[in-house]
């Protein structure tokens, strides 16, 4: 099989699919030309992620990565969500095929983008370094 059981479970029964109408932060990464886009919606209260939803256009591993990543940050303080790595997402999924690892990168970046969007909207100061894109693993599609 191409995918692990955990990936298939999160793909077939994705958690947290949808939108949040009055989201406090929205982040989007990817490019339709490359075949995947992830959009993350956050509801934040007292620096804690109260709710999170996602929409994804992409392959099985992109949908599963979104589902897993949103599960991993739900109910967590922002400081903790910011430490979520693509590696942790991939590990939680019991591994991804090598050519699909960029999907977990997208999930990490979509979450960071959403948090950054929340900080920007609310004039909260942050360290730019935290939001640097991991370009090296991201460059799977050069359009």
């Amino acid at each position: 099989m191409l995918y692990s059981e955990v990936v298939m479970d999160h793909f077939m029964n994705p958690r947290n699919v949808g939108t949040i109408a009055d989201a406090d932060g929205v982040g989007e990464v990817g490019n339709a030309k490359c075949g995947d886009i992830m959009r993350i919606y956050l509801k934040i209260k007292n620096d804690v992620i109260e709710d999170v939803k996602f929409e994804t256009f992409g392959c099985g591993s992109a949908i599963a990565s979104s589902s897993m990543a949103t599960e991993m940050i739900k109910g967590k303080p922002l400081s903790q969500a910011l430490t979520l790595t693509n590696k942790a997402v991939a590990e939680a999924l019991d591994g991804l095929p090598a050519h699909k690892l960029h999907c977990s990168v997208l999930a990490e970046e979509a979450i960071k983008n959403a948090i950054k969007n929340y900080y920007d909207k609310n004039g909260i100061e942050y360290n730019e370094e935290q939001f640097k894109e991991s370009a090296h693993e991201h460059g799977h599609c050069d359009i």
Partner: protein
């Protein structure tokens, strides 16, 4: 329900083909080059298979070469014509943008070796115009290679006309007929072809058996050096069971042809019409000039791999041209060649039918594809933006 709808990828072996090959794995396992009787009986079987295949294609048995498959046949045909051309300082080759990679990658390699390659545009309907070929031919053109029918979008090319042009201009003409033979009538004489590739697993024969037709008088060189098998043009002990089964499968496919396409075409058209009822979908490739079993449609706002996985969960085996399914970075070169933008090409679905598929299965496929496309669109940020008017639909 379990529905196999990926016959362009490979087919289930026919009972006839399986029965035909069994004796050559059991009692008649001899090497055709051996002198004792089980060897010679095997040689006789290869001889008969060659005759039978020649009859199906309309050529002489001496013009048939057995190979390991469609890819090897393509490689050998193109390499031979290039080698012959180079001897006369003719190093220009004409092909099309949507050939199988067995052709395209061979041409790419030849380019590195100093050949010039012209890849013709295949137009929005996925059909090459014979005039394009005529205009592209130069004094130094040594080969024209144009596929008979495309493996992804099923469009059938005007091979006889292209062959006529090449014959008149004295340019060697090869066609990759892997998707055509056994599915539509093919006759190498009527079609004016010099070389033609076929592959047994595409017409209910075994995998790993191919044929290269080479017209008498056309230069052929070896890819595989070895013994004197195949008149010295392809070394290696013959795949006797495979060859016998390939011949049986082809004979059966060709004799069933009028009947099977009469059954398939209405099923195909019903499936196309049913799927095009899904909003913002488009058929890839000409509707008329297409293989009897091929359906290929793009759905805007979704990605093909997730579509395939969900259809698999519903028991439907199909294929897609999305980058994720090709294992490469780009979506299908065929869909890009007919002008589909990247984001649309990612959302393609190919269903390729055989005459085992039923009308009931077609109804089921239509229903399930509708459900799955809706489901994926509902979680797609691209679809949301289209629906909310933030982006314009590419497919109306």
């Amino acid at each position: 329900m379990k529905i196999y709808a990926d016959n362009a990828a490979t087919t289930k072996m026919s009972k006839t083909a399986i029965q035909a090959m069994l004796p050559y794995m059991e009692e008649i396992f001899g090497n055709p080059s051996s002198l004792y009787s089980i060897g010679q009986t095997a040689a006789e079987a290869v001889f008969k298979a060659r005759e039978s295949i020649a009859e199906c294609l309309g050529c002489m048995p001496a013009e048939i070469y057995f190979t390991s498959g469609g890819s090897e046949s393509d490689n050998q045909a193109i390499r031979s014509a290039a080698e012959f051309g180079a001897k006369k300082n003719k190093k220009h080759i004409i092909s099309t943008a949507f050939e199988h990679h067995a052709v395209l990658h061979t041409l790419k390699k030849l380019q590195k070796e100093g050949f010039e390659v012209t890849l013709l545009d295949v137009n929005e309907n996925g059909i090459v115009n014979p005039e394009q070929v005529e205009q592209a031919i130069r004094p130094d053109t040594c080969l024209v290679t144009v596929m008979y029918a495309n493996n992804e979008i099923g469009t059938i090319q005007p091979i006889a006309k292209i062959g006529e042009i090449c014959r008149a201009k004295k340019v060697t003409f090869h066609t990759d007929a892997v998707q055509a033979v056994g599915h539509i009538p093919v006759n190498v004489k009527n079609d004016n072809v010099d070389m033609l590739s076929i592959s047994a697993h595409k017409f209910h024969g075994p995998k790993g058996v191919g044929v290269l037709y080479v017209r008498k008088g056309i230069y052929l060189s070896n890819l595989i050096e070895g013994g004197s098998q195949e008149r010295g043009k392809r070394g290696g002990t013959e795949n006797v069971p495979g060859i016998v089964a390939a011949a049986a499968a082809l004979k059966e496919a060709v004799s069933d042809l009028p009947e099977s396409s009469q059954k398939l075409v209405p099923l195909r058209d019903k499936l196309i019409d049913g799927l095009l009822a899904i909003p913002h979908s488009v058929l890839n490739g000409d509707k008329e000039q297409r293989l009897p079993g091929n359906v290929n449609i793009c759905f805007e706002g979704i990605e093909g791999e997730s579509l395939l996985l969900l259809l698999d969960a519903k028991g439907i085996s199909a294929s897609s041209g999305s980058a994720c399914t090709s294992g490469s970075l780009d979506p299908s070169h065929v869909l890009l060649a007919i002008g589909r933008p990247h984001e649309i090409a990612h959302g393609s679905l190919r269903l390729s039918l055989s005459d085992e598929n039923t009308e009931e299965e077609i109804d089921y496929i239509i229903q399930e594809v509708k459900n799955v496309v809706n489901y994926l669109r509902n979680m797609s940020p691209v679809w949301r933006d289209l629906q909310e008017g933030k982006k314009n639909y590419v497919i109306q």
